[in-house]
Every structure is written in structure tokens, then in C-alpha cells.
């Protein structure tokens, strides 16, 4: 039984965006971690994991975020997690006492900005 939905779309050649919905718990966390780690190609520099639409996150889901960050870091890749302050996921982080420890970003835009490598132009600049 998969409670969660997972969609991938490349933002650019360096950054993959994964959007999750549904419920993330002890029953599916491990399968989701594998799916995420496998989806990130060697060419990618960063994975942006958007949990805005997730309506349940438990301690196994939080563990997934830590372990995925470690997995990716060991491959020289970064993980940027999007969790809005008023979301169910953030309530879980708060109760687990890791709200300020896990380094999450409030919006997808903020995560995409964070995933842009230093020195790169800051997205598309509208010029007159």
C-alpha cells in the first residue's frame, strides 16, 4: 500500500525536483528513500524535495530526510527540503525538536535559489 505520491521533474541539468504528496510514515519511508536516491543521476548536483503537499510525516519520515541527506552528501550532492512553516510536516519537526536542526526551506523558490551553485546567475534576470 503506497500512501504517498511522488513526482519527478528536472528543474535544469543540475537540479532534480521531487514533489511528494500524501502520507509519509514507517510503512513507506524506506521505499521512498530508495526511490529518491535512485532517481538522482550522477550528473545532478542537487535534489530539491518538496514536502509542501505532504499531510503526514512521522519519525521514520524525519529519519529518511537525515539519511537521504547523508546518502547524497557522500556522492557530492546536496539535498534541499521544502517544508512550509504552517504545514503538518513542520509540526512533526517541531514536536521532534529538529525544526531548526534539519535546515529546511519554506518555499520551492527558496530551495531552487539555494540549489543554484555559487557564481551561477541567479535564475532568469528580466532586462529591459
Amino acid at each position: 500500500v503506497n500512501l504517498a505520491g511522488l513526482d519527478f521533474h528536472p528543474h535544469d541539468e543540475r537540479t532534480l525536483v521531487a514533489t511528494m504528496s500524501g502520507e509519509l510514515d514507517f510503512s513507506n519511508a524506506e521505499a521512498i528513500r530508495t526511490a529518491l536516491a535512485t532517481a538522482v543521476s550522477n550528473q545532478s548536483l542537487a535534489l530539491v524535495l518538496d514536502l509542501t503537499a505532504v499531510d503526514y510525516l512521522d519519525s521514520a519520515g524525519i529519519e529518511l530526510l537525515y539519511r537521504l541527506r547523508q546518502d547524497l552528501r557522500s556522492r557530492g550532492q546536496a539535498l534541499h527540503v521544502v517544508i512550509p512553516p504552517d504545514s503538518a510536516s513542520n509540526a512533526a519537526l517541531r514536536l521532534a525538536g529538529v525544526e531548526h536542526n534539519l535546515d529546511v526551506l519554506p518555499t520551492l523558490a527558496a530551495a531552487l535559489a539555494a540549489s543554484a551553485p555559487p557564481g551561477a546567475d541567479a535564475g532568469t534576470v528580466e532586462t529591459g
Binding site: 514507517f26 512521522d58 514536536l95
Partner: protein
């Protein structure tokens, strides 16, 4: 609720369909069936639908509704295949007692039943959310502890007295110290979401009792 008939499913692709919203009162049963059940040789379809409706009135449970419908099938069988789905809006019990299998896939159902029970006790959304998270962690603990070769079960009992909810989760596995940061976080979630958490060994396992004010 009387509705105009719509074209059969799967006959015309991409046809736009009307949506209908209805409220099932607690205890009411909704029965869905395919036309195989009511298409009979020599009997007008309106008549067999009427017969079905009057028989279903005596059904008290979804299982009974399905059985009553199946009993209508004539001995010579049906011309078409049939499917029946019956669902009931269950009354929320005063005391919630569950004995789920100790498998991770039960967690989502436990959360749904608990949320409904908490809402019926008058718990605010935020309180419901936090208690649900705490109880989910206690259940995940019970599931991790159940390592018997036979299919094991754990117990959950939720009661409310004077606006305070008490939820007790009991398993048949012996308490081990939280392994790794994951279970440690589970305990942190329980303690920060609830007013009181006690973990104690029982004769054949571990009991986690949690309390929190839900109303007044």
C-alpha cells in the same frame, strides 16, 4: 436522492460526468451495485430495482446488505456478472478499542480512526494532529517490538474522562531501549505532544500510556 441516469461506464471514452455529493448520516449504509444484479429475464428493471431497495431496508451492516443482495440472485444464475460494494458511516464509539496486526501498513488506518474519535471528543485540529502523531509513534514502537514469528497484534485503547483523553498502547514485545536516533525521536514526539507519557513493562510486553486534555 433521485438522479437522472448517466451513460454506462467504459462505453464512451472521455465523457463528462456529473458529480453528486450526499451526506451519509451515522449508521447509514450506501450500496453500490452493477446492473447485472437487477437485469432479469421477464422482469422490468424498475421492478427489480424496487424489490432490491425494499429488501435492503432491513440491512443493519454492510455485510448484511451484500448478503441480502446476493440472496436475490435466482437459482438459475444471472445473465451478467455483478459487483456489490456496501459502506457504512460508522458511529464513533465512546471508547476506541483496536487490536491491529503489528505491521507498518496498519498505521494509516489507526491514525484515521483515532482522528475521527478525537474530533468526536471535541478536540481542536491542532490537538488532534499532535495526539495523532504521538500515538502513531507509540504504535510504531509496538510494531518494531513485535518480533514473534507468528502474526502478532498490539492493542490500542482510547478513553476520555472530564475532557482528558487517555490512550494506552500495549504490545507483547519486551521494551528495549530506543535503537538509534529514529526511536529516540519517536519518544521525543510523544513527550512533547502529550501532557503525560509513561512507559512501563507488563507481564508479556510494554505499555505506553499517554494523556492530554482535549476539551474544556
Amino acid at each position: 436522492m433521485e438522479l437522472p441516469p448517466a451513460p454506462p461506464l467504459g462505453v464512451i471514452p472521455f465523457v463528462k460526468r456529473d458529480e453528486h455529493l450526499m451526506t451519509l448520516a451515522p449508521g447509514e449504509i450506501l450500496v453500490l451495485y452493477t446492473d447485472g444484479l437487477v437485469e432479469r429475464r421477464g422482469i422490468p428493471i424498475d421492478e427489480s430495482i424496487q424489490q432490491l431497495v425494499s429488501i435492503l431496508h432491513s440491512a443493519g451492516t454492510p455485510e448484511e446488505a451484500c448478503q441480502l443482495a446476493v440472496d436475490l440472485v435466482p437459482v438459475e444464475g444471472l445473465r451478467d456478472d455483478m459487483a456489490i460494494v456496501a459502506l457504512q458511516n460508522l458511529l464513533v464509539p465512546e471508547v476506541l478499542e483496536l487490536e491491529p496486526l503489528a505491521e507498518p501498513t496498519v498505521l494509516a488506518d489507526v491514525r484515521r480512526l483515532l482522528r475521527r474519535w478525537l474530533q468526536a471528543r471535541g478536540a481542536a485540529d491542532e490537538v488532534t494532529r499532535e495526539i495523532t502523531m504521538a500515538v502513531n509513534e507509540a504504535c510504531a514502537n509496538a510494531i518494531e517490538h513485535a518480533y514473534s514469528p507468528a502474526p502478532a497484534r498490539f492493542r490500542l485503547r482510547a478513553t476520555e474522562d472530564g475532557g482528558v483523553a487517555t490512550i494506552v498502547v500495549t504490545d507483547a514485545g519486551h521494551w528495549r531501549d530506543p535503537r538509534g536516533t529514529n526511536r529516540g525521536r519517536g519518544l521525543t514526539i510523544m513527550r512533547s505532544a502529550m501532557d503525560e507519557v509513561t512507559v512501563r513493562p507488563t507481564e508479556d510486553g510494554t505499555e505506553i500510556a499517554m494523556r492530554r486534555r482535549v476539551s474544556r
